[in-house]
Point group: C2
Chain length 231, copies 2
Amino acid sequence: MEQRTYKQYCATARTLDLIGERWTVLLIRELLTGPKRFSDLQASLRGLGTGLLAARLKHLEHEGLARKVTLPPPARTSAYALTEAGAELAPAILELARWGLKWAMDERREDETFHPGWAVLGLRACFDADAAAGIHVVCEFRVDEEVFHIRVDDGTIEALHGPAQHPDLVITISENAFVELIGQTSTLAEAVTTGAATVSGDRERLSRLARLFRLPSRGVRQAPQPSGQAS
Amino acid sequence: MEQRTYKQYCATARTLDLIGERWTVLLIRELLTGPKRFSDLQASLRGLGTGLLAARLKHLEHEGLARKVTLPPPARTSAYALTEAGAELAPAILELARWGLKWAMDERREDETFHPGWAVLGLRACFDADAAAGIHVVCEFRVDEEVFHIRVDDGTIEALHGPAQHPDLVITISENAFVELIGQTSTLAEAVTTGAATVSGDRERLSRLARLFRLPSRGVRQAPQPSGQAS
DNA sequence: CGGCATCCATTTTGATACTG
DNA sequence: CAGTATCAAAATGGATGCCG
């Protein structure tokens, strides 16, 4: 069971020895929005079987990146949460997300799954800390059954699964409209007029919040020319 | 030959579909310090066979992250270089390196390989852009047979393989001393006195350069307690 | 629900031998 | 030097069954 390593005295390689196996980074991505139960994790990660999920979680525990926690009453079930070391992977994973937003997010494909939490993490990736100086807003998102909230506090942002304590804004929206919103295929205003979304809270505050997120400009990866004769 | 994907409409997952396979990130790490030939890449990546290396390079080319280039005379051999999209992975990879420096770089193990270029990239990961405002220095490192240089230009840094055009500083040092230097087991001054290193250029300038890099404070990943009875 | 064990068909990989 | 070809070992994924 000797896990495979790169055997390089290099910070990048050492990191990949810990989180480079298939599914591991996506598992951490799930935990970045708060503790999750075994079955929630599996539900978010189609294609990952129970055996491999259990093995990956054990690995993360063993390496001190995650730990098993008991959820506070009334839940009382067990769940997995990131340790300090695990949580500090956020900057790296958010950089991967930023790159993906710029270079890899073309049209959604037929067979791709989607979960609102991913988009909420995307918001965190697009957050402009400088623009948020002095701003304090809590916004709750209710996307179909899923509830998330973001808390902006003077240059910092937190994006977690679950309802907010005292939200300044609550956005209730269908998953489809949410996807279009994030992909900038449509605007929140449009979703509201079609009835796909409702907003409660100060509209002025909402528009100030919206200005804190900037989607990177889309780039095009240059595939090699097929080198065939010109048509 | 359908490559395996996560099938998630998520920026992180899409990125990992492109660079998440084994060796791919390390290949990009190698190319971050400049174009490399097939055999150089293989020499840096012990354990990666020619077959897999060829496959990975073909994949990176196909996805527009790298491209084959012909080195300028007198070399004239072919090599691989990053495209714009590939080069923009640098922030993400450097975040992984920063995390590794803090959480994963304990003692060098017996069977681990080391190449000076990795440490030079580590310097880039530790670079403090704010501290470098208004500073311009070019420093060449000659570590055994390998030559690298870094160019600091007012808040930006470049770290490339090969000699510098007009270096302000040249540091010639043995690989062993270089490892100890980077790991902060010893100082450059000590290496100079023992003869393991020589420095040419303005010493004042060197000490100003050294202040631009700050190794993250080491953290300790908390392994789960063995849960055995207390001793 | 949470999680481990087992079996099995496919992929991926690692190591080497071989070719232009 | 720059790859292809080949083959054995390991990792993955899916299904299924078990147990507290």
